[in-house]
Amino acid sequence: MITAERKPLAEIKESIASYKKLLILGCGSCVAECASGGEKETALLASQLRIDAKKEGRTLETKEMTLDRQCVYEFIDQLAGVIGEYDAVLSLGCGAGVQAVAEVFPRAHIVPALNTTFIGQTKQAGLWLENCRGCGDCKLDFFADVCPVTRCSKGLFNGPCGGSKNEKCEVDPDTPCAWQLIVTRLEERGKLDSLEKVHPPARWSKKEGKGPRKIAREDQRT
């Protein structure tokens, strides 16, 4: 999923300082999974902001709503009758969600409450790890399903570097060395010789290409 974290409260407060009526909008997909922008987190943030307003003697009226997905117009459209009654929308969606909502309602001020971080997995409750960088040219099959682009701090395709210590990356002792994992897995499978040939440089054009990427499927379009 896409993971995100709530912005520091001071940043959020600054962005909404002038507003008295706020629609606080959560998202039920990725950010709910990583406990940053789901219905629960929306309610918590709303409560926090209301208490804060009371404490500072400000008026703040809020409404909490959570869309199934903030990045799909089908759900964003549900805001049509609602959004006009508020000074602004504080969105707990990821960057994609915030922008999509802003596109549907360009005259509304959509304030991001989260910092979108990475594509990752839930490793255990409360722990999310980055494991994909969306390079557009998936090579997991060459690397025993451990992504070197993402999980090797130097993105080596012919690693390991030589800086790892106790099987952990030189950059962060909590991070396992991706190449340690790759090499060990291949060895266990008896496939270490697949690393003999030099893996060629990446095709970054699949990621950087010509600016922001798009996927267009004619068979899916109306």
Binding site: L9, G28, S29, A32, E33, A35, G38, E39, K40, A43, L44, S47, Q48, R50, I51, D52, K54, K55, G57, K63, E64, M65, T66, D68, E74, F75, D77, Q78, L79, G81, V82, T122, Q124, A125
Partner: protein, 172 residues
């Protein structure tokens, strides 16, 4: 024990396992303090959500207690551990907005005198209060049911969009 007449409002979230007759046992204090005290029995302290504490404070509680079963005595194994973490999280949230985190206090029951909830609440009320009254006046009182029940969601979905079930579960 006389209840402290300090004018503060209190909320008590507690595990029902601590007092089978809590419904009865809390009536005496409810009568004495009226709207200044609210009791929220839980099937397990682990059912507490940080949001409950926030809402209790928002609706006027100057001090919120969460009372859990002793370590290793939770009928659901980890409920009390979870409760502790959620109280700590709620403390961070109010500290972030400049309120004293001690307004939320997590306690583990030690002895279980009878009637438990009455005795324990009175003991806590008799303590020297370490928090000030909330710095705003006009505290709304919300009926206890409103805090624990999931907030009623307005029907904003209109007639068209089919409703997908909200992912309510977490991994634990």
């Amino acid at each position: 024990m006389n209840t402290k007449k300090d004018g503060l409002s209190y909320a008590f979230f507690f595990c029902q396992q601590l007092d089978a007759a809590q419904d009865l046992n809390r009536r005496s204090l409810e009568k004495e303090l009226g709207p200044r005290i609210r009791f929220f029995p839980l099937p397990c302290s682990g059912r507490i959500e940080s949001l409950h504490l926030m809402r209790a404070l928002e609706t006027g509680a100057d001090k919120v207690y969460v009372i859990a079963c002793p370590e290793r005595a939770c009928r659901h194994r980890e409920g009390n551990t979870r409760a502790r973490k959620r109280v700590a999280f709620a403390q961070r949230l109010i500290a972030e907005i400049g309120l004293d985190p001690d307004r939320f206090e997590f306690l583990v029951a030690s002895a279980l005198p009878s009637p438990y909830i009455d005795k324990v609440a009175r003991e806590l009320l008799a303590r020297e209060s370490q928090v000030d009254p909330l710095p705003w006046g006009n505290k709304e009182r919300e009926a206890p049911k409103e805090i624990l029940r999931k907030e009623k969601r307005d029907d904003y979905r209109g007639e068209k969009a089919p409703r997908r079930n909200q992912r309510e579960h977490r991994l634990l």
